[in-house]
């Protein structure tokens, strides 16, 4: 099961955070994000993409200036999650056309929607990019009409 998905930039600033567990206060959350990010950023390219953090496994992948971090429990397939991160990035890429940090910042609601289409409650639901983006296109069309 996925416990959290984080997108941070290389300065360690959180750009998107989705937690599938409860019980974290805002301070604990900030501390957790800081620590994980610090450890991820300090790793070298040649090291593997997994690190152990408390009782979680954190799987991370870097895309240009953005780090995608996914915390999972013991049972999850690390390599599968790595593939999921790639799938998420490809989907974001397809929707935003070459996704970058600013796209996420200014369209955080859309980013969350894409994520919710792909994963819910810590489980992966959909990995077909077209199916994921379809509802977003509909929303975009509707809001264009409204304008």
């Amino acid at each position: 099961m996925i416990k959290f998905i984080l997108i941070v930039n290389k300065l360690g600033q959180t750009r998107l955070a989705q937690y599938y567990t409860t019980g974290l206060s805002i301070n604990q959350r900030v501390a957790l994000e800081n620590e994980i990010t610090r450890r991820c950023l300090s790793r070298k390219d040649k090291e593997c993409s997994f690190l152990e953090f408390r009782d979680l496994k954190v799987i991370y992948r870097r895309y240009a200036s953005l780090f995608f971090l996914v915390g999972v429990d013991e049972e999850e397939n690390e390599l599968g999650i790595l593939e999921f991160i790639h799938c998420l990035v490809e989907t974001l890429d397809r929707y935003f056309e070459n996704v970058c940090e600013l796209d996420l910042m200014f369209n955080i609601d859309k980013a969350y929607m894409i994520l919710d289409e792909m994963a819910l409650n810590g489980n992966i639901i959909e990995t077909n990019k077209k199916t994921v983006i379809a509802p977003l296109h509909i929303i975009d069309q509707v809001s264009k009409k409204l304008k």
Binding site: E33, E47, F84, D109, I124, E126, T131
Partner: protein, 900 residues
């Protein structure tokens, strides 16, 4: 008017410091709050949007929670979208507000717009609380049957959450599984599989039912593998890997414990395990899951070997990630598949040289896991080879593993010593603390290797004297201890090792600035030992030791002073510096375990205090016997007080108790030692105390610090404690030592020598006896009534066993009160013969209620200190108050049926 979302983000991005960001956010938060207060409907979505951003930056946003509810209640989709987003991000932790949203969500679930239903489901799936989900379960169930696959998969995921939070609702969803898995849409099938997984985890009994799904799942997997390219769910040439590995995971749960199901999936698992390539991450992910399944289910040995081979392929691949998962999996398989694992030794060892520390660390664990008697030599060599290149932190891990291996599977003692020396020289300071004690114990029990080892260490030292401190300590100990053997044999062999050479080396090491004070203790001790091992070098040794009498380090100074004085007392010098008795490692291990389990407070310090205390007693005794004037005694009590100050209050209490015990012991003996000149008595006392000391030393410090051990041993011989307390105390000690030395007659010295020998013999005997006594715990169940008066009854039962390797009797003392009066201020004191040592625990209370309505329990441990058969006899002193009357009574218990 608050700003646009875009402007806020720009403003925050423009801030150079965290302080500036805080200012911007605080200002904006205030504006948002104002706008909320004014019920500004138009700007509400925008404000929530901003709050989401503010929340992400880690600033408070609670004031927006109710606004989210208002938004999701609004009719427009845009408002609902932001509202639900806000709900799942901002309101997540606030159960009350969440619960208030239940009805709005219920309405949305029955909306005609499927995107609105989708929004509500997504929010429920992410944040739904158990109360909400329990309330909404019927709606969720209905939506799982919806025609739209978009809603179906979302509803299924909400069902998974419901099962997790409300386990009793599981029955509701079991019936839905078959249709979900039978769907064509991959998303629906995927969530269906995850639903089965969560049902199986919550209700393991359902596994039997779900085993019927196995053939279908196998077919599905087969078609996925054979389907080739399908544009919809293609991941770099692999058809829907997520579906594939989820099927494999479900198969794992279904196959576990069932031979029939395992057989059904064997073919497809072989196909997956052998066909896939290992170049792409996707392929490896599926292979990895397949391997996990093969290893968990009841598969035949051939399939298991295939699985291990696949993992080995991962290890020889280029990807670090696959290496990591392979090592992790192999670690889990170490116990079940040791044979096939050992075949891949080469690849595993290769991973020790990987650039990634987490891979190296796992490889190290695995190397250790596959180690056995046959391959220990070659594998240890491999570990030693990668030691010089390893970084410090990892070095420590490697040496620790090597040491454990040396202990666990030693082919022979010579190999053990060679490897230990290698660890010491290469490992540098990053070695486990007990390496030195392990080394000395191996040498101690192998007289044949003493020359070999000391020569080897000496030559290493001679060629490169700036080794690490641990190495210097061990080698100076060994050379000092076996100096005579080294010199004699090397002369015979024609080796060019001379005593002067050794002494020169020691002097250079002592004077070197790189040698720490801790190491210097060892070197000084080695030097003084040399003086007894080899004759004719006393003057040179004296010359080397002399300057250290004025060293800044008090400990070093004291040692030097004592050693220097020892030259004048050649009769006591030899026995004091006699060969160390062989360490018995088992005893040390036992001791350490016990210590850990017993009490964390009792550290080294505590033991030291105890030692010093007994040594003080010993001094007391000597002084009492010799009628040394009172002045001396006051000094002594002063010292005692000083010592007391350093212990915690609890300890002080026990010390007091010990004192009163000593007092009782004297009663028991029927003679008071304070004024008698009786040599015999002194002898007894000395014997007893030294015995205590020696045992304590052996037990407590044996495995921990060689230098300290020696120091205490010597201090004991001189009637001194080696506790590094204060300069002043030190001076006191020196003074006393002089006086004592002057007072002691040759006769006494001889006695002491005998005692010393006796103690050594005893400690050796003790270790032999220990094994015999270990399994001898017999229970004498009948309690003996030892005292019955005024309605008070004291019962004792006895059990023979051993404590810290010494034979002992454990007893539970139970005191009851059948009189109609309350017994208060109850205190029991115990005395035993001098050959025994008694320890009485705190009583469970001080007062015993009348008419048998309560009891006091106390534990008594009696440890045998001398190796001879002893009839157990106990003297009790019972103090209590009954009916306002204080009663003190002595009672001797001699009818105990125990001889030990």
């Amino acid at each position: 008017m608050s700003m646009q979302v875009r402007d806020l983000i720009k403003a925050v991005r423009g801030c150079k410091t965290q302080q500036k960001i805080r200012e911007v956010i605080t200002r904006e938060s205030a504006l948002i709050r104002n706008s909320f207060r004014k019920e500004d409907k138009i700007n509400r979505p925008r404000n929530i949007y901003k709050l989401i951003y503010i929340h992400m930056l880690g600033f408070p946003s609670e004031f927006g929670q109710l606004e989210c509810l208002k938004l999701i209640a609004s009719p427009s989709y845009i408002g609902k979208r932001i509202g639900y987003l806000g709900l799942s991000i901002l309101v997540k932790e606030n159960q009350e507000v969440l619960f208030m949203s239940t009805n709005i969500i219920r309405n949305d679930l029955s909306s005609e717009d499927r995107y609105i239903v989708g929004l509500a489901l997504a929010a429920l799936g992410n944040i739904g609380s158990s109360e909400m989900l329990r309330d909404l379960a019927p709606e969720i169930e209905k939506l799982m049957e919806s025609e739209s696959s978009y809603l179906k998969k979302k509803a299924t995921l909400v069902a998974i959450r419901t099962i997790r939070l409300v386990p009793e609702s599981v029955d509701r969803f079991i019936g839905k599984v078959r249709t979900l898995i039978g769907e064509k849409n991959h998303g629906v099938v995927l969530t269906g599989l995850q639903l089965v997984l969560s049902i199986v985890k919550t209700e393991p009994e359902t596994i039997v039912k779900f085993r019927k799904l196995v053939p279908g799942l196998v077919r599905m997997l087969k078609s996925l593998i054979n389907s080739g390219y399908s544009s919809e769910y293609d991941f770099r040439g692999t058809a829907d890997p997520f579906l594939q590995y989820n099927i494999l995971r479900l198969l794992r749960y279904l196959g576990e414990g069932s031979k029939k199901s395992s057989k059904l999936m064997a073919d497809i698992l072989t196909q997956v395990g052998t066909s896939g390539g290992i170049t792409k991450n996707v392929e490896i992910a599926i292979l990895y899951e397949a391997v996990l399944t093969i290893l968990s289910i009841e598969s035949d040995s051939k399939l298991r070997v295939t699985a291990i081979n696949t993992l080995s392929r991962f290890l020889s691949g280029r990807h670090n990630n696959s290496k990591y998962v392979a090592l992790n999996t192999l670690l889990k398989a170490v116990n079940t598949e040791p044979k096939s694992l050992k075949r891949h030794r080469k690849v595993i060892v290769e991973c020790l040289k990987d650039q990634d520390i987490s891979i190296r660390r796992r490889a190290l664990d695995l190397v250790f896991g596959i180690m056995d008697k046959q391959n220990v030599e070659s594998l240890t060599q491999e570990l030693l080879d990668c030691l010089p290149k390893a970084e410090n932190e990892f070095r420590y891990d490697i040496t620790a593993k090597i040491c454990t291996a040396i202990e666990k599977f030693p082919p022979n003692d010579k190999w053990q010593i060679d490897t230990l020396i290698k660890v010491l020289t290469i490992g540098g300071q990053y070695i486990r603390d007990d390496v030195s004690s392990m080394m000395t114990s191996v040498i101690g029990r192998n007289p044949d290797l003493q020359y070999y080892t000391s020569k080897k260490l000496f030559n290493i030292l001679l060629n490169d004297r700036y080794r690490n401190q641990t190495f210097l300590q061990v080698s100076s100990w060994v050379i000092g201890e076996y100096g005579d053997i080294l010199m004699q044999k090397s002369e015979k062999d024609g080796e060019l090792i001379t005593t002067t050479q050794a002494l020169d080396l020691f002097q250079i090491l002592l004077e070197s600035s790189r040698t720490t004070d801790g190491t210097k203790y060892y070197i000084l001790t080695a030097l003084i030992k040399f003086s007894t091992r080899i004759e004719g070098h006393d003057e040179l040794i004296k010359k080397i030791i002399k300057p250290y009498r004025e060293h800044v380090n008090v400990e070093l100074q004291q040692r030097a002073c004592e050693f220097f004085l020892l030259f004048d007392y050649s009769e006591i010098r030899d026995p004091i510096l006699d060969r160390m008795p062989v360490f018995v490692e088992k005893e040390i291990e036992l001791e350490i375990e016990e210590e850990i389990s017993e009490n964390n407070n009792k550290g080294m310090n505590y033991n030291l205090q105890e030692n010093t205390h007994t040594i003080q007693n010993q001094i007391n005794n000597i002084q009492n016997i010799q009628n040394i004037p009172n002045v001396q005694n006051t000094q002594n009590t002063e010292m005692n007080e000083l010592l007391m100050l350093n212990t915690d209050t609890k300890k002080t209490q026990t010390q007091n108790k010990q004192d009163s015990l000593n007092f009782l012991k004297e009663i028991f003996n029927g003679s008071s030692s304070s004024n008698t000149n009786n040599m015999n008595n002194m002898n007894n006392n000395m014997n007893n105390n030294m015995n205590n000391n020696m045992n304590n030393n052996m037990n407590n410090n044996g495995g921990q610090d060689l230098g300290l051990d020696l120091g205490l041993g010597l201090g004991l011989g001189l009637g001194l404690g080696m506790n590094n307390q204060s300069q002043r105390q030190n001076q006191n000690k020196m003074q006393m030592q002089k006086q004592q030395n002057q007072n002691q007659t040759i006769n006494q010295n001889k006695n002491q020598n005998q005692n010393q020998r006796q103690v050594q013999n005893q400690s050796q005997n003790k270790s032999q006896n220990q094994n015999q006594n270990q399994n001898q715990s017999k229970v004498q169940n009948q309690p003996i009534i030892v005292y019955e008066k005024n309605g008070m009854k004291i019962e004792m039962n006895f059990k023979v066993g051993n404590i810290r390797g010494a034979p002992a009797v454990m007893s539970i003392i139970k005191t009851t009160n059948s009189s109609p009066l309350l017994i208060s201020n109850y205190l029991l004191q115990v005395a035993v013969p001098k050959t025994l040592k008694a320890q009485l625990s705190q009583p469970s209370g001080q007062n015993i209620p009348p008419n048998g309505n309560g009891s006091i329990n106390q534990q008594l441990q009696i440890i045998k200190m001398v190796n001879q058969k002893t009839q157990l006899a106990i003297l009790l002193r019972i103090n209590y108050v009954i009916n306002g009357q204080k009663i003190v009574e002595n009672k001797e218990v001699s009818n105990i049926p125990i001889i030990f």
